[in-house]
Symmetry: C2
């Protein structure tokens, strides 16, 4: 979290606007959103965005790290409270389906090293395997493929609504069970 300290209030204000705009646009339309779009949505010039984040990748990284940290702390509480995968996965799926950029970043694994998050999820799945809740050979790659794939497609098809994600979350959970 490279927290830049601006010495003037307008700079800080603009920085906040940029971050807010990036969060919203990345969530809604994925990581292909352009810097000009972010700038316009924030009501600032392009150069103002590049001042805080020299590269578009820097901007993406910053936003993604935020989201990943949220996800990790939430997952940590799930681990602490011994949440079963059947409860965790639908929520995770909902978060991914509600944030296109997050789903992309989490799946592709580029830019952000999600080691914390993956370790925590590994913890959860290990317990779920022990109780026989899911197939014994489940990996975190499996989770990425099975969760992020459909989540991204839901957004791409503009089928994002509570009924849809509940439906697909149920299917996804089913997919993780022992094959018969």
């Amino acid at each position: 979290m490279t927290e830049v300290t601006h010495r003037r209030t307008d700079a800080r204000r603009n920085h906040e606007r940029v971050v807010a705009a990036a969060r919203e646009l990345f969530a809604r339309a994925g990581l292909r959103v352009t810097v000009p779009e972010v700038a316009a949505h924030a009501g600032v010039g392009r150069a103002t965005v590049y001042r805080s984040y020299p590269t578009k990748d820097d901007l993406v990284l910053a936003i993604a790290q935020e989201s990943f940290a949220d996800l990790a702390s939430w997952t940590r509480s799930a681990v602490d409270s011994d949440m079963p995968l059947s409860a965790y996965v639908p929520d995770l799926f909902a978060r991914l389906a509600g944030d296109h950029g997050l789903a992309e970043a989490f799946l592709e694994g580029r830019l952000v090293p999600a080691t914390d998050l993956l370790t925590l999820i590994g913890e959860l799945t290990a317990r779920a395997k022990a109780t026989g809740e899911v197939r014994g050979d489940l990996t975190t790659v499996d989770l990425r493929v099975i969760l992020c794939g459909p989540a991204r497609q839901l957004i791409a098809l503009d089928e994002w609504n509570p009924a849809a994600w509940r439906r697909y979350a149920a299917m996804v959970v089913t997919a993780l069970r022992h094959p018969r």
Copy 2:
């Protein structure tokens, strides 16, 4: 199938090369492959590609229609031989995972009206529902989301190998069953 008749043999030969190159590259790297890449791989100039296909979309459409026709005729034979979904889906999944462009085109539904194919798949699923093989409320959109999502991710992650697709095909089939 707008079959262009070339009056010279070299024209026909080049056209074939372009088609072959496009098939290969779209399958391997998806629809984002550029026209210059196709031309280079075919060993011709860019303009030669544009002669047969005035727009990149025209090229994509032509290749996608081919693939869709293949898929449809194969599906028709599956319907005729009363193939169960548990046998059909893994093969479909393999085809999608083996052709990135096909998976993209099938999922996104833009460009190509896949009505024939969807009708046939609807036929198969209707029978599978009747025998209780899958959940009763399964739709073709479900199939697109659940199949194409993971298939595309597999390719994106470069995890494409027989072991991987068999594994995910099994999971995908499980996902279509009745929830418990």
